[in-house]
């Protein structure tokens, strides 16, 4: 059963909320619906006022305790999800509590992350396992990484940003030509999306057919933006619709599909399979 909260009701609820002095939350819903809104650049911004009227679903997160290495007591318990679209782009806004903003990596520090997962055959075929899909039933995973967001906003760190007193004699690329120095590029040389120097999006689009098989998708349609403030992350992940085969395949207004989630708190060394997650929740995209 769906709770359709009308606009006047939403305004009344928000007014009551404001008068009561509590945090202004969007209207609560038990069903995840991507509401249609007029085209608005704010869709890509988690802080935009366009999100205030979009109904929010609260998702309880589970421990990943099925495949090792596990996270038996993950740090994040609840994820708040909103979805909206303007006929061109689907935007999913995710909000969760995280006491620390983890945006840099050294050998013992991990970045915060969130991911949404769709069946690869949106709305068609047997539903893949919510745990990263299964053999013959792939999923698409859009993973936002705080580290990539930070590098997009502030530029990639140098070793002196991480270790102010580091002493370095000479890097090969200062002395040798690009071709010869390239072996020292490691992940950057081979275009690993986690390492890539020319950053286009803080969200990596991937495919999987069972845990352990996560691989970069040949196409990278997903965009996004994340902001941390006052102990909460607010992240929007955007996906263009696919009218002519250039966006996310199969995604279109009117579609009914499923969405699963995962959250990583880098501050407690969550990464990979050490995560909090939620299985399939129905998503209806308004026509």
């Amino acid at each position: 059963m769906r709770n359709r909260i009308t606009a006047p009701t939403a305004v009344l609820l928000m007014a009551i909320g404001t008068l009561a002095g509590c945090e202004q939350r969007p209207p609560l819903s038990s069903d995840l619906v991507a509401v249609r809104v007029p085209t608005d650049p704010g869709l890509r911004d988690p802080d935009s006022p366009v999100w205030r009227g979009v109904p929010e679903v609260r998702i309880d997160l589970l421990a990943q305790n099925v495949t090792p290495p596990t996270a038996l007591e993950p740090a994040t318990e609840e994820l708040r999800v909103q979805a909206a679209h303007d006929g061109h782009v689907l935007a999913i806004r995710l909000e969760w509590e995280d006491p620390t903003e983890d945006v840099a990596t050294t050998s013992d520090r991990f970045g915060d992350q969130v991911a949404v997962q769709f069946p690869a055959a949106h709305g068609g075929g047997p539903l893949p396992s919510p745990m990263m899909g299964h053999d013959g039933a792939p999923v698409r995973v859009m993973q936002w990484r705080a580290v990539l967001q930070h590098e997009l906003d502030h530029g990639a760190p140098t070793i002196h940003d991480l270790y102010p007193n580091a002493v370095v004699d000479l890097y090969p690329d200062r002395l040798l030509g690009g071709e010869v120095a390239s072996p020292y590029g490691g992940g950057r040389l081979v275009g690993n999306p986690v390492s890539r120097p020319r950053l286009l999006s803080p969200v990596i689009t991937q495919v999987a057919e069972g845990w352990g098989t996560l691989t970069d998708a040949p196409d990278q349609p997903a965009g996004g933006r994340g902001v941390w403030r006052d102990g909460r992350w607010r992240v929007v992940i955007t996906l263009p619709f696919d009218p002519h085969g250039r966006g996310e395949a199969g995604l279109q207004p009117g579609l009914e599909t499923q969405l699963a989630f995962a959250v990583w708190d880098g501050g407690v060394q969550e990464v990979g399979s050490r995560k909090a997650w939620a299985p399939w929740a129905p998503l209806r995209i308004e026509p």
């Binding site: 305790n65 495949t67 090792p68 290495p69 596990t70 038996l72 840099a104 990596t105 050294t106 050998s107 013992d108 520090r109 991990f110 580290v147 990639a156 760190p157 140098t158 070793i159 991480l162 270790y163 580091a166 370095v168 004699d169 000479l170 890097y171 090969p172 020292y184 590029g185 490691g186 992940g187 950057r188 040389l189 081979v190 275009g191 690993n192 986690v194 390492s195 845990w211 352990g212 098989t213 996560l214 691989t215 060394q269 990464v271 990979g272 399979s273």
Partner: protein, 375 residues
């Protein structure tokens, strides 16, 4: 959980993957009696492979002092403590491996070092076990001792890094057993850094993924020994290929030293990884310490090594260390010479068993001058 044969443990053991030995296995022997910690190997490796951005703190090859040196800090004592005291007294290992001891929800018993643990590669350097007392004199074994332990990735037969990676970004090459981290597939989870007990997998904070010793595979593919081996001033290293005991060839210098003469022993075999870097133990160090590090064969290895001057074959094999940059597949002692051969049995190097002696008189007739002793 599949069962695999680990000849170093003398038994089968659990491992997450089926047994699949490479066609041949890259291996190395280090003679700790000769290492002077000049760090030429460390510099050679660093200038060859890790001068890049994010690699600044990586030492794919490092030389640490024992008993008080470690890189990263306390790497061996920490994992030994986690594993607990185990019985290493006999040829069949009765204790637990790191796979046996994996906690619930983990693949390997391990830990992630703190970042600062990498900040002190020279900690404990040259520190002896304790101070010498007034009037003391050294006997064998030394009562106060230290030695140098040069280390690289052991390119284990059953790598913990490979077992720990949940997305199979670590692989072992079937042609030579070299273990590599796929730079395209790695996502920087650092399960390999956690899992490797020798801590030879390193995280690159600039590329956000992990890297490790690559066994100088471009050189090895062309029949050359690794950079750390060929640059070693003390000629303490020999790198080649090692077969499992059943296929050992007596004329392969590595097979001979490890399986026949048994002077070269694996590093912490009790972890269960079947590491492929072997050590000739330091003869001046008390056996109980060495037994924990190299297993139960230490006393025999030390005794055999000390008898090398009377064993032409052993002497010949040892003298081929550092004699040539090429990988030796065969060797033999021919009269007063140790001879090394490549894969096609072509002679590659010839080393005299006795250093030739030249007598120089006080007057050099050819130059018409006296030779002056300037030492």
């Amino acid at each position: 959980m599949p069962k695999v044969e680990n000849w170093q443990l003398g038994r089968a053991m659990d491992y997450p993957y089926e047994e699949s030995r490479p066609r041949r296995q890259l291996a190395m022997i280090m003679d700790t009696n000769k290492c002077i910690a000049c760090q030429t190997c460390t510099v050679a490796c660093k200038t060859t492979w890790t001068p890049g951005r994010g690699q600044e703190m990586m030492l794919w090859n490092n030389v640490e002092s024992k008993p008080y040196g470690f890189f990263p800090l306390g790497w061996d004592v920490k994992i030994l403590e986690k594993l607990g005291v185990q019985d290493l007294s006999g040829p069949v290992y009765e204790g637990r491996t790191l796979f046996d001891a994996a906690p619930p929800g983990e693949l390997v018993l391990g830990y992630l070092p703190e970042d600062l643990d990498y900040a002190h590669p020279n900690v404990g350097e040259d520190d002896s076990l304790g101070s010498m007392t007034q009037g003391a004199f050294l006997t064998l074994p030394h009562m106060q001792w230290m030695f140098y332990l040069p280390r690289i990735c052991n390119h284990c037969t059953y790598p913990a890094c490979l077992a720990a990676c949940p997305r199979q970004s670590v692989f072992k090459r079937p042609e030579d057993g070299i273990v590599l981290i796929d730079q395209e597939r790695c996502r920087g989870y650092r399960e390999c850094v956690r899992g490797c007990p020798y801590k030879k997998s390193y995280f690159n904070p600039i590329t956000h993924i992990s890297e490790k010793c690559i066994g100088c595979y471009p050189a090895v593919e062309q029949g050359r020994q690794t950079q750390c081996t060929i640059t070693c001033i003390g000629k303490i290293r020999l790198q080649g290929y090692l077969a499992p005991p059943a296929h050992a060839r007596d004329d392969n210098p590595l097979d001979y030293l490890v399986h026949v003469a048994r002077v070269a022993l694996p590093l912490y075999p009790q972890f269960g990884l079947e590491p492929n870097v072997y050590y000739i133990p330091p003869i001046h160090v008390p056996p109980p310490y060495l037994r924990q590090m190299f297993g139960h064969g230490v006393e025999k290895a030390m005794e055999t090594y000390r008898g090398a001057q009377d064993d032409q074959r052993l002497l010949g094999a040892l003298l081929l260390f550092g004699a040539t940059p090429y990988i030796l597949h065969h060797f033999r002692v021919q009269g007063d010479w140790a001879v090394g051969y490549d894969e096609d049995r072509r002679e590659v190097v010839r080393v005299p068993l006795r250093e030739p002696v030249y007598l120089r008189g006080a007057y050099d007739a050819r130059a018409g001058t006296h030779r002056t002793n300037i030492t």
